[in-house]
Symmetry: C2
Subunit: 379 residues, 2 copies
């Protein structure tokens, strides 16, 4: 059965002149679910797509432009999104309400709408089967590498592509991800699976705690085969987590991915809150950049939320090395530094010793390049 088709165009939104318009034509039988940033100050394209989804039509095409976020552009920006959907629908012979629009790039600039529409016409003029690497490249802004992943189990397939460098690009603060499966899933089930997976993957990564205005994550079921539910969820989670970690890895100036797991918490919410607090701690992130096994900064971050922790029950591990055991202990600092030095993914494990819930968040270290990129970038 025919799968997802793609078309590529140029609207001149990138200084490099690289392609910046991507059209995805989904099979008519597909079922999809979309999640968007909760930022109040969100892109006109996001607002338009949310309104389109509210109309309840089946979505048949996704239109993505890179180089301009269409954010902070008010009513004009909203009209631009609508004109884009219209142009895409006309060229593909479908309805405007069947097209969603996504934008990523600079904030606060109006789209050069005639050029964008010409780019959409170009993209729709010739459709090829989906090429994940090419799709990721077209929607990229300051990404240093394309983000794709594929997973299979028997005849079940899950694959996807994404863009984003730590969600925190200066004025380009966007994570976009699209994951596809050949499994048949009905809409309510797909939406509930989508929310669960999103919470454990894209919502558990952070680079600087800044929430983008344009983040969007789509999950599309192509409806070809029947799959076992748990296997499907595992596949979607694996692909989504791999894409999410690639975004962290591409964080500005990042040299390491940091996985922070909070174990044996009373509730999952507490585990998640504490893991996020450590993931966002600048002191922890700079310590990892400096190869410093600094448990004091981890403990201090853990203590600073609204939750009470009991320092006498707390255990902190770096990889397999116990750093803190309910009180000051002596550990081999050289070995701990060496662990940070030689590991591409640093594991920090925090055992609260009070319950049975856990959560993992993913972060990156923070170095000079973050300042360089974010301070020297000009609007």
């Amino acid at each position: 059965m025919p799968g997802v088709l793609m078309g590529v165009g140029r609207a001149g939104l990138k200084e490099s002149g690289d392609p910046d318009i991507l059209v995805l034509r989904l099979p008519d039988r597909s079922v999809s679910s979309f999640l968007f940033t909760r930022n109040s100050f969100r892109s006109a394209s996001v607002l338009y797509s949310q309104d389109t989804l509210a109309k309840g039509k089946n979505i048949k095409a996704l239109l993505i432009n890179s180089g301009n976020a269409n954010c902070g552009t008010g009513e004009v920006g909203y009209e631009h999104a609508e004109l884009m959907a219209q142009a895409c629908a006309q060229n593909l012979g479908i309805k405007k309400e069947e097209v969603l629009v996504f934008s990523t790039g600079i904030i606060g600039e109006f789209l050069p709408i005639e050029k964008v529409i010409a780019g959409i016409e170009e993209a729709c003029s010739y459709l090829d089967p989906l090429n994940l690497e090419l799709a990721s490249w077209v929607i990229s802004t300051t990404d240093r590498f394309p983000k794709v992943d594929r997973w299979s189990g028997g005849n079940l397939e899950v694959y996807g592509f994404a863009k984003g460098a730590g969600m925190i690009e200066p004025n380009m603060g966007t994570m976009l991800a699209f994951v596809f499966t050949n499994a048949k899933v009905d809409k309510p089930e797909l939406e509930s699976l989508h929310r669960r997976v999103n919470e454990k993957t894209f919502n558990s990564i952070t680079v600087d705690g800044c929430m983008s205005t344009n983040d969007s994550f789509g999950l599309i079921s192509l409806g070809d085969i029947v799959a076992e539910k748990q296997t499907l969820e595992r596949g979607v989670e694996e692909v989504s987590l791999t894409l999410a970690k690639k975004i962290v890895k591409d964080g500005e100036g990042a040299t390491k991915v940091i996985a922070i797991t909070v174990l044996k918490a009373k509730t999952e919410k507490k585990a998640k809150t504490l893991a996020k607090k450590v993931a966002n701690s600048l002191l922890v992130k700079t310590a990892v950049f400096g190869r410093d096994p600094n448990w004091g900064r981890i403990a201090s971050a853990l203590g600073s939320t609204e939750y009470v922790i009991d320092p006498s029950q707390l255990r902190i591990y770096l990889g397999n090395i116990l750093l803190y055991n309910g009180g000051k202990i002596y550990f081999n600092e050289d070995k701990a530094r060496e662990y940070i030095e030689r590991s591409r993914e640093i594991r920090i494990v925090i055992d609260l010793g009070e319950g049975k819930h856990m959560w993992t968040c993913y972060s990156s270290d923070l170095g000079y390049d973050y300042i360089r990129i974010n301070a020297e970038y000009r609007t």
Copy 2:
């Protein structure tokens, strides 16, 4: 009437060999109020002082050591704090329960208790009238300058000293502040005034959103004169705010203080939450470091809390320059850059246009030195 007396000693806790023990003898007639960090992972000295306060005795002496935070030291650290209070009480001829202990410095090292007790004996052996500059210097760790302030209105006097460089020193994450007034205030009134002022001053500054394990703020009424309540509150607030801003100014690598005011919010809580979110935004802080009038980053930070904002009602000012007015506008970027360049304190004013509440937070910009200091510091 005799005022506050001070003594200085050396316990060898600082590499420089500078004085590191400060004893303050308060007049017996004084009434005091103390506020501490809410970090669960707090210093043994803080825990000990909180337990001492719970006994309800009038506080007659404050004992402060710098160079070691006595944090992460468990039961041993608690015993050390008690031994310190005991030594101070014996040397001053008062009761152990009348002495509070404060520590600031490195986390996770036991105090060399014999040396500390010798330093306390030295400090208690000769008491002089309080010298604010000297007191601030003795309790300093990595501070670049002493933090003191004096205020008077008629015969009413308010003065204080503090230490702290942005609350975020690596493993030295402590803000200590002590403010004195000659006004007579009863305890419940002093405590309520203290909480209000703390919320508007020390609780409204941030450098990196990291909460210290040792933060403490004392307000001491010496009981010499009767003062008008509102005048007293104004004086205490001015001294506290000046000390708080000096801490921000001394933030690692800071080149500018940023004052963020949220105006016309529906509730004070919303104004405070939004002001803090902007104050902690790394993207806003790096933009100021890069002299970039980047309203998109401010808007994006405002949109990312649990509160809904209406972008069409939002106005964002940099000093007197309107950057955003419910939609994209054109402003003189060179003038805006010049404002950042030439101002020592940058004012960001955010008008939500929805109510009548306001709040101001103080932050600093974020530059290369923050990374250098925090990544290259070794435990």
